[in-house]
Symmetry: C2
Subunit: 316 residues, 2 copies
């Protein structure tokens, strides 16, 4: 199967939306951003053996590669529009491509995002997706707006994906249902697009948790020039994680990556309406701490016995 | 050196243009497309050992990875605006990153394109760049507009990059100056952005030559639903290629990839003004054939002794 046959067979599944003048198949796509909207762009790469274990099912690779990118749009409060897919594969395995595409398509259709181009090449398995969306001018949620007294909030539960990875890598055992829950959270995270949209004009800062709560909160504090106080007892944990002893579940919840929940700061007078929106979406939102502009850095009422924080590529 | 330090040290070199509201450093970039412009988007991946020999200097990898993408914007007649860089590297080698970035920066500054985001990850060496630009509504150059009687034209000379690859892989020997010319054309192709812009409203179809003239002309013929007649004696060849015997130089010129010259079709009454524009830019434009809507496929007054056409990933 050639590169062109592959693309033709598996990547044309959609009705073309009005914003797409020219899609897949020319040197570039030609697109229309609606009047009075800013374009939001983000890219994430997903490498076999680095970002996911080699034995990850292709359906989950396709799903998650798009999910982590949609999560960036959610963190900006943006509405998804288009994406490109640059994929390198060691060989053109029809079965693999078919499953991969099914995962990708499932999520793309769910969120109304449209594939407008890409590149299919030979090489070690690697998927690089770039998502584009839009937001009203000045409404994008940034990392830099956290202010003294703002509440620190997270969506969903924390640490499940890190526990899922430990299970897949046979470093952790949990009972059947709990193990399945954590592996599912690792492989198929839910991008919080509707929640992100509901935070526009409310949250003072927002990002998604990909490298772990401590590392990612550090980015908000640095960008905003503030400090924070965090209560470990307030961290939202799934029943699966609650089975673990304290040190281990806090390690997963505070330093585990891959949760793709939203981490955001809220002026106290916005809390009630955000909680109501989240309730309507069926998404749990939990206050886990408060911004403190008078004391730089992160104060946590818990001490780890080692020095690691979140995940960084290249740091050993 | 951590991922974040790397990004901070090497990828902030530019004055932020007015179109960029938020650049590198948040979950996504926030951008403004000018009023009354369509967005043009293209992505190309560049893998070590597949798209370039492992021994390619990092400066050339940085330069070429952006050049092949800019070439796609040129082929669409678009004006470059922004790009993202997704790079996987086996290790964070400061020296390597510094040289790579220098090549990238050189070309980016030359064409006024601005880095707005990216992802730096660990993995086998792979560079995926997505370029974005804009064009007036309906003015993008597509592959699908070639009509009966249109002249088939190419910019520059053909086959030099393929000869350069053969030299690097020690399959071909040429005298010093000629060898250097071909390797330079392989490593540092010139994206024809100004020529592409001058073709707007004139060329009936356009693309860049990345997979070889025969393969790429085939895409235009298919997209336009026409055939073509091509004269092998008209192919523009550099003095370096003219040293080779006929079969070999035609193999490079007709089936060698990586030239990144523009291939376009012109109604005859546009030829003179296009030639004048090209002269002003110091770029050679050559008529190599004509579109024939009455006879499907490609007629060439030369026969190869084997069946290959251009380069396709995965086809053996």
């Amino acid at each position: 199967m050639s590169e062109f046959e592959l693309i033709r067979e598996y990547f044309f599944w959609q009705d073309i939306p009005g914003s797409v003048q020219v899609g897949v198949g020319d040197d570039g796509a030609v697109l229309r951003v609606p009047v009075n909207r800013e374009l939001v762009v983000s890219v994430d790469t997903f490498n076999a053996g680095v970002h996911f274990p080699l034995e990850t099912p292709p359906h989950a690779i396709g799903y998650k590669a798009l999910a982590v990118n949609l999560s960036d749009l959610a963190a900006m409060g943006a509405e998804p529009a288009w994406f490109t897919l640059a994929i390198s594969m060691p060989e053109a395995d029809r079965q693999w491509v078919s499953c991969f595409t099914r995962g990708l398509r499932e999520l793309a259709q769910q969120h109304g995002i449209f594939l407008i181009g890409g590149d299919t090449t030979r090489g070690p398995l690697s998927v690089s997706i770039q998502v584009m969306g839009w937001v009203e001018p000045g409404q994008a949620l940034l990392r830099s707006g956290a202010r003294h007294g703002d509440l620190i909030c997270v969506s969903g539960t924390l640490g499940d994906a890190a526990a899922g990875l430990a299970i897949v890598q046979q470093r952790l055992q949990l009972s059947g249902g709990a193990a399945e829950h954590c592996v599912q959270r690792l492989n198929c995270p839910s991008p919080r697009l509707q929640l992100g949209a509901s935070l526009r004009g409310r949250a003072s800062a927002c990002m998604d948790i990909s490298d772990g709560l401590l590392a990612d909160l550090g980015h908000i504090l640095k960008a905003s020039g503030v400090g924070a106080y965090l209560r470990h007892g307030a961290l939202p944990l799934s029943p699966a994680l609650q089975q673990l002893e304290l040190a281990q579940r806090l390690d997963f919840a505070l330093r585990g990556g891959d949760d793709y929940e939203l981490l955001f700061t809220l002026p106290t007078d916005c809390l009630r309406e955000v909680m109501e929106s989240a309730d309507n979406l069926g998404i749990r939102v939990t206050v886990i701490g408060v911004i403190d502009a008078n004391q730089p850095g992160l104060s946590l009422d818990y001490t780890f016995h080692d020095e690691r924080s979140g995940y960084e590529h290249f740091s050993q």
